[in-house]
Symmetry: C2
Subunit: 331 residues, 2 copies
């Protein structure tokens, strides 16, 4: 691990201090109706209620609040949620933000990122080299790169979600549970895993991915990084090709076997969160709830905790989710 | 006011003690996008995240937790949200619950009330005398009536929302604001008004009703109770014919002029809460947000606080709301 900055619990606690009064302390919700479907108690960490509609604001503010005063602008690559988090965090600190977004990102995410004050530069996922494009822009304008997950202070910021989960679960008398986390590059999963290792050592993170994008589950099963071809899917927020360079060693050391759900299950979980928790989720933010509801045999314990990690969804996809669950319920 | 039990701040504080660990301390949310539409800061008390999907659980548990041990069952009349609150609160205390619901109540509210363990008795709003039916059932089975708003402990329970609003707003540096409350019979409005009178005297409650159901606004304007004919509408949760016997004197003494919004505005507020706050609201739970967004000239101050009082909505109405806002945005 030479040359790799590690992340530790002290960094997560320091990030929590910087996030105090800036990020929302999101509620841990539940519904007897969901418990009945899952066959166990389900506690839902509602990060869709976080500023900018996803947990990504935590990591963005953690990283941006830690920058030296000499920095005047930041740049980020993102299909959407990290973009909004960075745009809003940069505006709070009075920094300019340039966001490189794939041309096929959901319209609402592109619009919102612009409305939060960032300059959006669109690129073609298939034909253009995002990293090269970013390097040129960063160099020309003197911008600091905020990586979506392979950044120590981003992981530390996401880890504050784990501190809150440990505290909120303890208040409910829960010390022993699997914690299902919606997983793309592993920033949220690894941050929560580190926080729980220190604060709730009888809890274990299980990553959840959509079918066809289970690079983390496969990597965990094989004990070595598996890389998938880059492509997009319904769960656009979490369709990364491989776990990150910083996140992978943490995931490997601390997480249980990865879980995988279908797009249909993610849509049904969105509809059930809508109906039973009054929460709007996006497909990638609903996969952990989907695993809790529809893969009960792969989970242990009386209580399962899930992250509902984001809610930035186009209206058409919400309608699709409500239809999917209605079709299923009518069978 | 001979013979009428009054409600006071001590009863609200005592209700808060009984609700501790039972009701959720719901978040006060905001979005820069909503602020922009409203032309001022908008803080949203997300009571749709309360147990059973509306603030009604507060009043129900306040009343039911205050009953003597000799009571074995309760009865309630409700188009839905009070029904679910009473059903769940009764089950928590191990009491049986009979709920009289109009036959035209939304399907999801009837189903949920049953699933929460209550016996649902349906009646015809137009042809049957609900009160007589309830009296017979209560007498035959020895049930205690929990009124939806004209019950001192119900008002005290709803008032705990006001204690939280005062505390959460103060933490944001807000002491001076109009507080827009979705209003049916006035239980939530009067409870919050009493709580704010004690805890945040520079805040004032403004009731919000749907067009055609503005009996409270008319009553406030005339200084005397105006009664409308009983009928139903899109905002089914708040279509009561008149302010209550207990709530009216409180509303008259403490509230500013009532606000009125159209059904279309309520639907658009639902869509904007969905998109910007990731909250699912029902039409009757969205009228206060609608007033903040679409009636800015009738509101004073830099900050407005609104209750998002319930989210128990059929899927078809959610889809209608998303369509309504899309149609409007496309104009």
């Amino acid at each position: 691990m030479a040359g790799v900055v590690s992340v530790n619990i002290d960094m997560i606690r320091a990030a929590a201090d910087r996030l105090q009064g800036r990020a929302r302390h999101t509620p841990l919700l539940s519904s007897p109706f969901l418990d009945r479907i899952a066959g166990r108690r389900v506690l839902v960490k509602a990060e869709c209620l976080q500023h900018t509609g996803s947990f990504k604001f935590r990591g963005a503010w953690s990283a941006i609040s830690d920058l030296p005063d000499t920095v005047t602008g930041v740049i980020a690559f993102s299909s959407g949620n990290h973009a909004q988090g960075v745009a809003y965090a940069a505006s709070l600190r009075g920094l300019s933000a340039v966001i490189l977004m794939p041309r096929d990102a959901p319209d609402n995410k592109i619009d919102n990122t612009r409305a939060l004050g960032a300059e959006v530069v669109l690129y073609d996922r298939a034909r253009e080299d995002r990293d090269a494009l970013g390097d040129v822009l960063a160099h020309e304008r003197g911008l600091t790169l905020i990586q979506p997950f392979d950044h120590p202070q981003v992981i530390a910021g996401q880890g504050t979600t784990g501190l809150e989960i440990a505290e909120q679960a303890r208040a409910l008398g829960v010390c022993d549970a699997q914690v299902l986390v919606c997983c793309g590059g592993g920033g949220l999963s690894s941050g929560i895993a580190l926080a729980l290792e220190a604060e709730a050592p009888r809890m274990q993170v299980r990553t959840v991915e959509p079918e066809g994008f289970d690079d983390v589950a496969q990597s965990l099963a094989l004990g070595t990084v598996v890389t998938h071809p880059l492509r997009t899917g319904l769960c656009d927020a979490i369709v990364t090709p491989a776990p990150g360079r910083l996140t992978w060693p943490i995931l490997k050391r601390l997480c249980g076997p990865g879980l995988v759900v279908t797009d249909s299950q993610a849509l049904r979980a969105m509809a059930l969160a809508h109906e039973r928790l009054k929460l709007v989720l996006e497909p990638g933010g609903a996969v952990a709830l989907a695993a809790a509801l529809f893969c009960p045999d792969q989970i242990a314990g009386d209580t399962v905790i899930v992250t509902a990690s984001g809610g930035n969804v186009d209206r058409a996809v919400t309608v699709l989710a409500l239809q999917e669950e209605a079709t299923y319920a009518a069978r």
